[in-house]
Structure formats: C-alpha cells, structure tokens
Assembly symmetry: C2
Homo-oligomer: 334 residues x 2
C-alpha cells in the first residue's frame, strides 16, 4: 500500500516527518510505501542526513506552504501546490491509499472533504481521537471537526464511531455513550437531550446512554459521542492536565528522594498524542490528522493508523455498513 | 453572622455536615453562628455524638427530604418543609446571611433563584468553581447551572466572575478569558464567536481573549467563561482524571520502591472539591453548593466560602458594580 505523508506539517518539518517515516518503514512489512509530499529540495536534504533509508520512500514535489493565517477553506484555491492539496489529490486519483498530516487541522479537514468527499449518509465527517482510560482506550467523536451540531450529526458520529471501533479497534460490540451533564435521559442541553432520544431507539448501536465527564476515564464505553466544541476542549484539556499532574508529582518526588522513578510507562498510558494520528471519519478515503507538535514517534504511529485503516478496508466497510443505518437515522430526525 | 447549613445534603448526611460544622465553628472567630436545617431528631442525635460542640450552633426543623428523582423546579411546591426550601427562606427573611448545601444542585439552584431572586441585570445566575492550575486558582463560570446559553449570558458570567475574582479571590485586575477551540477571534461555535465580539468591546473587563482547553491549566487567567454544559463536562472530567493519574503513579511507585511518597500535598493542589463549595453567582443572597460526596473538610471549607462572601458583602458589591455594566451589555447584544 502507498501512504502519503505530508512532510511539511509539524512545527519542526520536515525533520520530524522524515524521522517518523524512516521509523515506520523499518517497523512495517515491505507492503508499505511512503510518498513524502512537500518541498523536494528540503526533503531530499533531510533524507540525506539519514543512513540506510529504506528504498520504499518516494518524494513528490509540492512547493506551496500553508501558513497558520491561511483560512482552511481557501487552501485548495490559493495553495493548490501545497503538500495538503497535492497529497490528498494523489489519493483522489487512486495513486495513494491514505494521507497523514500534522499540518493545519482545518485545512486538512476542508481539503479532505473536497477531495475525498463525505460518504453517503454523512453530513459532517468527524475526527475520532483515542483517549486513554482506566480500561481500554476510548474513541472520542467528534474531537473538533464540527461545532454547532444538530442531533442527527451526533447520531452519525455514533455510527461512524461504532464502525471504527469494531473494524479498526477490534471491539466486537462497541458500547456507545453520549457525553452529557447528567445520567438521566432528558438531561443536558437541547442538543444532547434530543440526541439521546434518537440514539435510544437507533438500530445497530449498543447505546449505553449518557456519560458524565467524570465517567470517561473509567473506560466504561468504546465510543463517546459529542459536539466537536466540547470534544476539542476536553481533549486539549486532558493532554495538558496529564502533563501538569505528572509535573507536580515529579517535583514532589525530586524533593523527597534520590529515587529516579521511570515515568515512561505512565507517559505511554496518558500521552494520547503518542497513540498516533486521529482519523477523519466519514470521508471517502483515509485522512489521518496529527498534532503540529508531533514527535517522530507520533508520526510513525499515525502512519500505522493509516496502514491499519487501509489494510482493513475501512472506507468500504464504513460505506457499506453505514449508508443504510445512517439514511434511516437521518429520516427519523430530520 | 449566621450561615444556614443544609444538614441533609451529602450522601452520608447529617454525619458529614455536622462534623464539618463543628470544624468550621472551631476554626472561625466567634462572629460565626450556624443554623443546621433538617430533621431535628436526626441532627440532635448526631450532635450528641460530638464532645464539646460550640454553642454557636442552632437546629431548625425541616422534615421533608428532597429525593434524587424530584424535579428541581418542583421542590419549592412539593417539599416546602425540606432543608433546601426552609434554609433559603431563612435567608429571604433575613434571619440568615448565607446558605450552604450539598443537596441536589438543581434544587438548590431553582430554590435560590426563587427565594433570593437574580440580581438586576442578571438573566441567569451561574455557578463559579475554582480550578487548580499551575499558578493561582482560576474561577470557571458557568460550571453547570445553565445550558444553551446566549452570548449575553456569557458576558454576564464574565462580569459576575470579574467581581467575584476581585472581591472574594482578591485579584486586583482579574484577567477574563473565553473558553474556545482556537485562539483567534471568530473561532469556535456561534455562541463563542459572538461572545468574543461582545467581550472584546466590553467596558470594565480585562478580557484577554480566547483560551483553549490546553491553556486552562497554565493559570494565565483568573476567570474562564463558558456555557454550563462545557463547564460541567470539563469540571467533572478534571476531578476524575486527577484521581486516575495519581492512581496510576501510585501503582507505579508501589511496584518500584518501598518509598512511601506522601501524596497529601498533590491531592490538596488537585482536589478542587476540597477547596470548598461553589458559589451561585448573580442571586440576591449567598448560596453555596457542595458535592453530594463532600467530606467534612469540604463542608467546613464551603462554610468558609460563605463566611467570606458575607464578610466582604459580596451581594451588595456585586449588585452595585454589576447593574450598570450588565445593563449596557444586554442592550448591546439583545
């Protein structure tokens, strides 16, 4: 399979991307080829600094740079030769199977929608992100792609998350929960009260009801559904609070003892940014979004997420299983 | 001053309340009197188990019990002799200066609104809760009293939080931030994009702009303003994630060393439930809301919060400083 890696996305591009690419190629079977998209000279200069680069790496020139100030929707028109637009165009033309980027989330979103198109029955593709919990990881949908959602959008997120949890995360019967501020049906704002009603009677979902903020970490469900505003605030908060608490404890430990506690295991559990990129769910292709501050390990993991999506034929699986149920749901609530 | 303590609110009432009351009376100057409201026989039996109870404690009989299933709005009519209704009625009649309860948040909210009335210029009183950060604590408004807010409500929360931060938290010039999913003006959902516009041109506020989920913990502001849905999810998540991470680290420590790290200091920093009750901001009285799972220390701290609000004449301060600016704001955005 061929995966496009946007080589110009991280804050330290393309050094981080290329390190992650080399690691991924060494880790993965020989069925993986990577296409690095970006400024050819810069990429080749960086590649030259690595010894024994696997030969399953191609470079595709894309000179435009997306800047932080560029409006996401304008990137397709104004930066047609950017790594994001060129990379996703390769997938549109079926010259690649997946796209991984740590560039502007908004630009990747907008360009993915334009190039890959939403799957039938999906009004708003959503970002799914894995959260570490006391049990297995849990998929948060939507992690920030959509704000001002309507109940039918949350129902679509539930279906998208359900299929992803089953096909990619390997959960036999994913438990779906709705993020809310109370357990009882009818609690919450208009959106969640109404979405609860629809989800309760929705076929093909193991909907376990409302989940409060304090319950997420217990890992009682496989998929948490929410509006992207709440999901994004929660996700960014989680990341920072974990770092903050670990910092507090490190300081405390240092002051008490010479003992040098190895925090690696805890970091691995908590640092969801290391668990790989976040798939854009509901588009007709594979588009994986990483943090701008990603490490090479995060890039390598994101490539693995993309490879897994391609291997399991995620898009076709989603399209076939989704269209019927989502069309039903949309009719009910529209 | 006289503070009413709802003796029937916690999961382990009235044992916890009475222990907290006794601690608070021992801690505070003799200007504090407590009125315990609830089932007289139960309260007196529990009081009898304490030695040398300070005599500044009164018991006021209120036999009705608010049950978890009671709809908050119905409590005033259906449970007129409950500790919540009786306790707030004492304040309405000026026989007490403040009310502290760990009972149903919804019932305390609804009854506070009815008995104490919103202050002029306040459409929706809000719950303010202190979050621990890397710097000073930060006030989150609204922590769950209001969902489906409009921009002018967030502007009112900003004013309420501003006054509370200055008068009670002692911040000379409180920095006010809007919780959002991006830093730039115009980011976010309709509510936050619009609220940002109003807050930016609002007089009397040191509005520092949007704050992302990851920035909260850095403590760069004194007040974070958001819709109660987001605030409630965030708050409950924070509480649970802190416990989760500390648990992870404890397990790791136990497996590595005999060293028994004292986690007390870290818990004190992180456990915002211990920092005392959450004041209901914007009503014409003092109403402090605690967790149902409060400890006696949390109750004691909530009584301190109430006492501080009474001593600093919070309600009059808020009313006088608020009405002009809030009326202006409401006119602009309505």
């Amino acid at each position: 399979m061929r995966i496009v890696l946007d080589a110009m996305g991280t804050d330290d591009a393309p050094r981080i991307e290329i390190a992650g690419a080399v690691e991924a190629l060494r880790e993965h079977e020989s069925d993986l080829e990577l296409i690095l998209v970006g400024d050819r000279d810069v990429i080749e200069a960086e590649l030259a600094r690595h010894e024994s680069v696997p030969n399953r790496i191609l470079v595709y020139h894309a000179p435009d740079r997306v800047q932080p100030g560029d409006s996401p929707a304008s990137v397709i028109r104004r930066k047609p030769n950017s790594s994001i637009v060129v990379g996703l165009e390769l997938q549109r033309k079926r010259e690649a199977d997946a796209f991984v980027s740590a560039g502007s989330t908004g630009a990747v979103m907008a360009t993915s929608l334009f190039k890959l198109k939403p799957l039938p029955g999906v009004d708003r593709p959503a970002i799914g992100t894995l959260l570490p919990t006391a049990e297995q990881q849990c998929l948060l949908v939507d992690a920030g792609a959509n704000v001002d959602c309507k109940p039918q959008h949350l129902v679509q997120f539930a279906h998208l998350g359900n299929i992803y949890a089953r096909e990619i995360m390997g959960r036999a019967k994913p438990r779906i929960a709705l993020l809310n501020i109370g357990k009882e049906p009818g609690k919450g704002d208009e959106l969640s009260a109404s979405a609860h009603g629809v989800l309760s009677s929705e076929d093909g979902l193991d909907f376990i009801g409302n989940l409060e903020g304090r319950d997420i970490i217990e890992g009682v469900c496989d998929v948490v559904v929410c509006d992207g505003f709440v999901g994004n605030v929660l996700l960014k908060f989680y990341e920072s609070v974990a770092q903050f608490i670990i910092g507090l404890i490190k300081t405390e430990l240092d002051s008490l003892t010479e003992n040098s506690l190895d925090f690696d295991r805890i970091f691995r559990i908590l640092d969801y940014s290391e668990t790989g990129g976040a798939p854009l769910l509901g588009v007709g292709g594979v588009s994986v979004i990483c943090h701008g501050g990603s490490s090479s390990k995060a890039i390598r993991n994101a490539i693995s997420v993309a490879a897994q999506a391609v291997r399991s034929d995620m898009v076709a699986q989603t399209a076939s299983r989704l269209s019927a149920s989502i069309n039903d749901a949309s009719e009910e609530v529209s």
